[in-house]
Every structure is written in structure tokens, then in C-alpha cells.
Subunit: 135 residues, 6 copies
Amino acid sequence: MKVTVSRKAHFNAAHRLYRKDWTDEKNQEIFGKCSNPHYHGHNYELIVHVTGAIDPETGYVIDMKVLKDLIKVEVEDRMDHKNLNEEVPEFFDRIPTAENIVVVIHQLLRPHLDSNHHLKVTLFETPRNYVSYSD
Amino acid sequence: MKVTVSRKAHFNAAHRLYRKDWTDEKNQEIFGKCSNPHYHGHNYELIVHVTGAIDPETGYVIDMKVLKDLIKVEVEDRMDHKNLNEEVPEFFDRIPTAENIVVVIHQLLRPHLDSNHHLKVTLFETPRNYVSYSD
Amino acid sequence: MKVTVSRKAHFNAAHRLYRKDWTDEKNQEIFGKCSNPHYHGHNYELIVHVTGAIDPETGYVIDMKVLKDLIKVEVEDRMDHKNLNEEVPEFFDRIPTAENIVVVIHQLLRPHLDSNHHLKVTLFETPRNYVSYSD
Amino acid sequence: MKVTVSRKAHFNAAHRLYRKDWTDEKNQEIFGKCSNPHYHGHNYELIVHVTGAIDPETGYVIDMKVLKDLIKVEVEDRMDHKNLNEEVPEFFDRIPTAENIVVVIHQLLRPHLDSNHHLKVTLFETPRNYVSYSD
Amino acid sequence: MKVTVSRKAHFNAAHRLYRKDWTDEKNQEIFGKCSNPHYHGHNYELIVHVTGAIDPETGYVIDMKVLKDLIKVEVEDRMDHKNLNEEVPEFFDRIPTAENIVVVIHQLLRPHLDSNHHLKVTLFETPRNYVSYSD
Amino acid sequence: MKVTVSRKAHFNAAHRLYRKDWTDEKNQEIFGKCSNPHYHGHNYELIVHVTGAIDPETGYVIDMKVLKDLIKVEVEDRMDHKNLNEEVPEFFDRIPTAENIVVVIHQLLRPHLDSNHHLKVTLFETPRNYVSYSD
């Protein structure tokens, strides 16, 4: 009897999409205005989904308060009000596309969860664009 | 050609999280302010998802009106404006966590649906916390 | 040049609508299922709107962080995960309708704001019902 | 490492549910007010989900701009501000239920996507009713 | 002490924008694709706002259940699943723009409310376009 | 008979809050993490409200398409995917707080509207923080 527990969180950040090994023209051609050298930013809305059995003693799959605090430490404290390209080491050599950010968040959270739990992460870059990644 | 049909509904209820076989201190330690003996409450938002083949005659998997009425009888009439711990028998001996509520709702709806249909239930306890359970 | 700054917050609470000086039948007739003696509850969504001149030094009408903390102390800490009828003194002799709750919240916040600021409070009792009150 | 990229879009259309080979009474009995001969309409909210590997060069599964433009050409230009029964050939002989519309949209988009990509389409007919279909 | 009580409702309808006394070309020039002769449609989201004093006996400005039922009889029963141009007499000689619809709804509700109450009506034609009208 | 017409739009931008004439310590003390020298960013959601009489010929206060295009030229083309501090001249000597941004947007739109129309602008900096400014 597996139940999925989902918790929403959010953070604001600046980023730009570009590759150092490409010319400015190539970056502009591939990434368009997302490659603006002065950066732009988003209100990222995050949903973390943990799937597992209900603990018969507490009726919980995972305590939402524990999950909320984990997201704060591992994601919000690292990324909120930050420039992803300049201040978050995971993106020093990785383009901060929504796809790459969602995989990085999955990798940051995974070691802190029960190995029997399944983890899926969803990330809204704008209200109309979002991505998800799961085990 | 399987299509999933989803219908949203909602109900308001009071509850508290506690176990009679634990001391007040233990309940407070595990469930925190959710264990308040005077109860608190939520606007529960419910989504019922039914997956099956499209009936070639009607173009429906299931008539939304039938599904809406089923949710009203089996869920809203039992739980809306109720105290889950005191008035809903399924929770007399089961802690009304979101996880347990979603499983109970699944069990209440399941017998009324076609056995070839797959059933998933999603329950929002707050706009930031939700759970889901499926066959 | 007056700008309105709005900040959303939320709290969960249990309540019931009834008057001690009415019979159960009269309470049931006037308040219907909202009068259930075992209580029911809501996720209250709150919006606090402060209108004033922009401070030319900071570009702020009011620091959102200050407003967020004020809402936490004056509203969330008093009402979140509480039973309004039993645990919030303002409702010991006042029916906790959405209308009365929004006026109480206005009265709790007003003394902490600049007297030149205009204050409006909006309270969602459900996603379909809400109320507002202003100076 | 498969990531799902989701893009929202929308269109407004009129439709009615009915079968030419049924009597008016039978149409009314099965489809109720959705069978109104003068039509009614909806703001359809569409979500297109594409799942695939991240391209290591760009950090994209699929360029969101490309996906947005594809949805415009294949769905919005055909269906926005249209009468589905009268003006969209796919529904000349198919009842425009939400289930049938979501399958048609899937069929319109599928040939334009990489064969290694998995495609799921979600369609909201109203804020409370939605359907989804996937490969 | 005036409080505003707001209630949301919704209805689905088909319409087109056109004037019989204009040529098709003129209608197309002014109203664009909204003038499609085969109609298109919307999920109209309606918010009715009633402002008045709190009744000290009940704590209500107006009973939400009464307001909900009034909206059902005066608006939903007339307009839901209808073709506004063809089936709603108020639009036989009035173009069903959002502006005109919101004024008509105001006129339908106004006679049923206390003359001391202030009435405002908000109508969403799409999630991005809405109008409002008040006494 | 004055009706308000509202149109939503959005743009993404990077910004930081700081004053050149203050020390880094003072900027940090007043603006906190919003003063991060590497910038952060938001998905700004914008609502433009125009109030005026309904034109009896068209049933419009203002053509929504005209309003949508005006917002695109005057706001989105200037601010979308931009760094407000570095690339938008209005903020070279004005701190880009939400309050200052909403006033600037009002000033950019005002000259393009009928002088008999009333203009209000609402700007969401995050889903929980927003500001508004009107004539």
C-alpha cells in the first residue's frame, strides 16, 4: 500500500543559459533571450514527491515537517535569492536549464531519504513551463 | 487506448492527529501542533482519476456527472463539515493523516467503479501538502 | 503617490457557528451544517494590504519582511492549528464567521502599522468564499 | 536519465455532444445539457508533456520554444475560437468529448516529435474536469 | 463597519461578437476571430461581491448559501451550457462582450439584494481577461 | 456606466535592491538577501486594469487585443528576460523594488490610453507578494 506524499516549496534565482565553449553568436542562436549576459530570473516553484508505505504507527509515509525542513536546508538555503551560474557550484560547469536544475535537486535530496522511498521532483520555471525527474 | 478522466471536488473537515495508546507528551512530540486536543481543520481538495478505454458509442471513459455524483455520495456526504475523528467511523481507530484519508477514500469509491477501470485518488490537505494513492 | 503592498499568508483552524443563547434547533436552522457541534475546519488564506507613500530612500512602502513577521506574530501564532471558538479569546463571545474573523484580524494588525497607512484585510474561508474589510 | 518537460497552452472553442444516428431524446438522455443544439463552450487548458534524455550539449530535452510553436501550429491554429463540431474535421465524425479531443491532440503532435520521446497530453475542459492520454 | 462578502461561481457558454447592422467584413475587422459565425466559447468564472454591515445577531453580511442559490437561479440557470446570442434574451440585441455580460449579470442580481448593500460583479472570460462592474 | 477591463501578462527579470550611496553593510542591513550583488530574479505577473464607459457601438471599454499589444510593446519588450538594474534605464537611478516597478509601468502605459480612462496596475513579484498603483 504505497502512498505518494507531495510538498511544495519555492525559491527565486537569477540565471542565464550559455556555454563558455561556444561563441556569443552560437549561444544567442541556441538559447535566444535566455542567454542574456546580464541574467534574468524566475520564481521557481518546487514539488517534492516521496512514495512509500504508510507507517502503521504514525499514519505517515514521511513527516511533512521533516520533508519541509530537508527542502529548506538542501534546496532553499543553497539557491534562494542566488545567481545559479555564479553562486551555486553544481552549475559552474553545467548549464542551469530547468532540466539540469531538477536533476541536481533530485541528487541533493536523494541521500537524505529512506532507500525504500521513491523520489520524484517537479520544478516550475514559469507558470507555463515545468519539468520533472524521478528515480 | 486508455484515457484518464479526472474530477475535482472538495470538503471541509476538522481533525486532530493522536493515538489513544500514547501519552499526551508522546502525541505532542510526534504530531506537534497537529495533535491539538481542540482540533483544527482544512479545506480538503480532492481529485479522483479514473483510467479506462473510451466507449466508442459515447466518447466517454466514464460520464463525469456519474463520477461527480458518486464522489458526492461516498465522500462529501460522509466527510464535509464533519469532525473526522468523532464523526467518521473509518477514523475511530485510524489516525486521520492525509495518507490514511486518501486510502479510505479510495476504498469507498473502488466498489462503485468498473473493475476494468484503474482508480487513483489525490488529496490536498493544504495548497502546499498533498498525497495520492492508486490501485 | 500611494502604492498598495499586499502579502499573502495562511493558517488552518477549526470552528463552528452557533450562539449559546439560541436553541440547537435555531442554530441548525440559521447556520446549517456550519453549526455542527463537533466542529469543522478550513485552510484560511489571508491577504494583508497596506497602502501608503513610497519611502524615497528605500523604495518601500513597508518592508515585506516586517509585514510577514507581523502577520506571523499577530495572526498565525494566535490562530494556526487552533479551535477558534475554544482557544482564541476574541471569539469566546463573538461568532467566528468569516466576516467577524476578518474584522478581528484587522483590529489585531492596525495598532502595529503607521497611522498614515491604510489597511485592508482579505480572508478566504474556502477557494469560493472570501471577505474583506478596510479602514 | 529521463526528464519530462511540460508546456501549458490554451484555446477557446464551442462544441456540443451528440450523435447524428441517435434521436434528440436519446442525445438529451445521454449527454444532458452538453447536447444543447445551440452549442456551449470552454476555455480549454492544455498541457503537453515530453519525456526523454537530456541533450548533454544544450541541457534541454526539447527546446520549449520549439514545443510552444508546435502546439501553436498543430493545436491552437486549428481549434482556437472555433466550433469543434462544425469547423475541425477530426470531429466531423467523432463526438468532441474531452476524451476524444485529448486523443486527437496527441495524434496531431506525435508525428512531429522524436520517436525516442514519450508524449503525454492533459486537457482541462473546466477547472474541475480534465483528461489525459499518453503513448 | 462595512465588510465585503465575495462568492465565486461559474458557467460555460458559447458566444460570438457581431452586429447584424455591420457587414461581415466590418465585423471581422473589429472583432477578429471572436466574430466566428460558428461561435466559440468560454468557462466564465464569476465573482459576486456584496458589501454591507455585519448583522450583530448572525455575524453575517449575507448568508453565503442564500447568495450561492441566488447566483444559481439568476445566472447559472439562464446562462450555463447556453449560446448567449441565441438563447439568452438579454443578448438578442446586445453584443455579448465580457463588458456587456457583466452589466447584465449585475442587473439580474441587483433587485434581489438589500438596497443598503453595495453590489460589484467580476467576470473572468479567460484566465487572462476579466471585467468588473459595481453600483 | 463604468466597467473595469483587466488583462494579465508576465515577464521574467533579474534585479537586486541596493543604493550606490550606501555601504555594502547598510545595503545588506536594509535589503537583506534581496541585495545579493550577483542578482536574483522573479516571474513578474502583471495585471493592467482600465476603467471607462462601454462604447455602445462595440460593447468594449477597450479592445483587449489593443491592450495586450500595448503591454507587449511598453512592458514585455523592455523588461522580459532583462536585468532591471543594468538594462532598463528607468532603474539606473531608481531601486527596482516592486513598488517602484509598478509606478514605472503605470507611467509607461498612461500616455497611450484615453485620458477619460482610469488606469490601475498590479504587479506580483512572487505568488505571495504583490503591489498596485492607480491614477
